[in-house]
Symmetry: C2
Amino acid sequence: MRRNKLIVQKYGGSSVANPERIKRVAQRVVDTKRSGADVVVVVSALGDTTDELLSLAAQVSQNPAERELDMLMATGEQVSVALLAMAIHELGEDAVSFTGAQVGILTDGTHTKARIVDINAQRLAGELAKRRIVIVAGFQGINPNQDITTLGRGGSDLTAVALAKALQADVCEIFTDVEGVYTADPRIVPEARKLAAISYDEMLEMASLGAQVMQARSIFVAKRFDIPIHVRSSFSLREGTMIQKSARAMEDIVVSGVTLQKDEAKVTIRDVPDRPGMAAEIFRELAAKGVNVDMIVQNVSREGSTDLSFTVVKSDLPATLRVTRSVSHRIGAGEVTTDEGVAKLSIVGIGMRSHSGIAAKMFEAMARERINIEMISTSEIKISCVIRKLHAERAVRAVHRAFGLSRSAVPSRKLLATSRR
Amino acid sequence: MRRNKLIVQKYGGSSVANPERIKRVAQRVVDTKRSGADVVVVVSALGDTTDELLSLAAQVSQNPAERELDMLMATGEQVSVALLAMAIHELGEDAVSFTGAQVGILTDGTHTKARIVDINAQRLAGELAKRRIVIVAGFQGINPNQDITTLGRGGSDLTAVALAKALQADVCEIFTDVEGVYTADPRIVPEARKLAAISYDEMLEMASLGAQVMQARSIFVAKRFDIPIHVRSSFSLREGTMIQKSARAMEDIVVSGVTLQKDEAKVTIRDVPDRPGMAAEIFRELAAKGVNVDMIVQNVSREGSTDLSFTVVKSDLPATLRVTRSVSHRIGAGEVTTDEGVAKLSIVGIGMRSHSGIAAKMFEAMARERINIEMISTSEIKISCVIRKLHAERAVRAVHRAFGLSRSAVPSRKLLATSRR
């Protein structure tokens, strides 16, 4: 017997912010079910629940234990799944809700940012076989000690993708408050276009470059297990953007999108001795303090020492300075300076791999606008430049135009980039 | 090695209504721990949480599925345990929180009013052995299907008593917003006295007669397993009332307390044929509809038929009337009448068993006040009278006085009855 199409749908907190919206989600789930598909739904906590729970915690403890924070936070999604099940019943369909623990989402022991180790999908498969709509609390799991864990930022997306993998779903639909992935932020570039499709790799670069549609870790899992993701709006029926393996047609596109990140600061260590192990020492200590370093630029040395620059998110700046100054002193390097007036502009596209002159075209576009480039870093499918924040929006528009991303001649399904509405 | 004293403490919703109160409870728990005892704490949901969750449910469904209601409601206690654990950490003690499922509170499958079948106390014992304060979500468990269940009204008390049993605790302390069990409701009888001790049987009668300190089912379990219960106020350090096996001293007390119930209605079926099985037919159908019948009075028949009266809580009156009218018609009985203007006054005391004249003394007290008695029902340790609600308070005072319950000559530890403050 051929099985039905299986769709995993994930609805974020804003999609289930209140009973009215929960009912709308219920209707959408029921419509999907009645179209002949089996449906597994992953939900986040209602709108502000997370903030309310954190505020309660802050009122009883200055530094709440992470295990207890997980215990507390996990209730948010549990409320959502129960309410959504009720709302679906009200529409005459059979539905059953589960916590992460109940459907066997096994994680490691790292509280507040656990990693999914395995999913025991037996219970889920049993419920699907009964033709039920299955609703699963996002963001949470259970560790080998039977303690409740949460998955950290973007956790519900991860739950959805991991369930899609475990159940061999046909597609994982991520419902959000944007229509899909765009060639650039439409607030900056009004003529930016929604993409019909984007590759996992491009989306990964987009995600880590600040596009807030999905967290990088979920896309990484989707790529690894080849799970097609459909990012779409919970407020409209229009198709969104498919995230999938790169199709042949996509290879033709050289640059798929332009992204901008303004929440980073630049840190420079002057006169780092040109000896093996210096960089390792610096970044090992930063990693130990949980600081995520983004771009790192080091040029050739001059007179036995070199300047080393990197970017970190601004909230990590105090910790970064403490570590960096101490290491700099120890290894005999010079002054540590910081600069918060920067922005990072990137172009992304798998087509870049096989095309030359892309970097030059990008730099020329900025030169024409008399925008100075302070740092440059490249990967297989992206080029990033650090520039003055003051010129950031103008630079995005110039680069977007230079690569013809908004030309109507380019079929919209071949365009590519991300943004929040 | 002799183990520490083990105390199970239960704090109700009003004791943990907000962060300030949670901190106060934390302090009390820590004080208990530091006095040298091992402590297991059971908590209810924060103040109004239950109502808020029910309101959310009502907004998405007119008739929410009970399984999903349990899923929803169980989050309330989960929030409480996490917050209490954090607040205890803040005071420098080690504490760990658990859901009902995590500590193996196994129930049957009856959602919204499950019965505890077993407790797998292994995890708890392990945490206690690590000298940790253990905090358990009240009111909830897990059924053989791994679904979350809730225990219904008074569920957190039941959790506490059942844990005390499973862990062989020395005492189960029930913290509430009253100081203990009184000889009568102090709002009606200002000279009512707090009892130092009361027997399980008496407390059972008190509970089922409307005293709201504890639900009958928890007391029943405590009696069955001989678990001493200490009912006390979470707002004061004073000793409350011990509920325990009847002590010799208690036998001397003839009447221990006076209770009053005003939320019942009287139902009368006229001219019930005097044939075997008539009463059974009526009450079988009421039970099938979930109606709890309290007092039942039937006098000797006259001319082949009799009048049958009973009381039910007012909220059950519509269902009761539907059932009763249909059965009455089928068995050839007469008219069904109801009366909501009644109250039920009871005296309770194990001493009654061996004393005569108690009923007469009670009836005389009311006669002196010219209060008519409409129904009478007795058990081994109680006598209940249905009277006009209009006269209820006056009757309570008269009976309380008649049995000398407020006389200062009677040592207060021998007095007995319940009330909310």
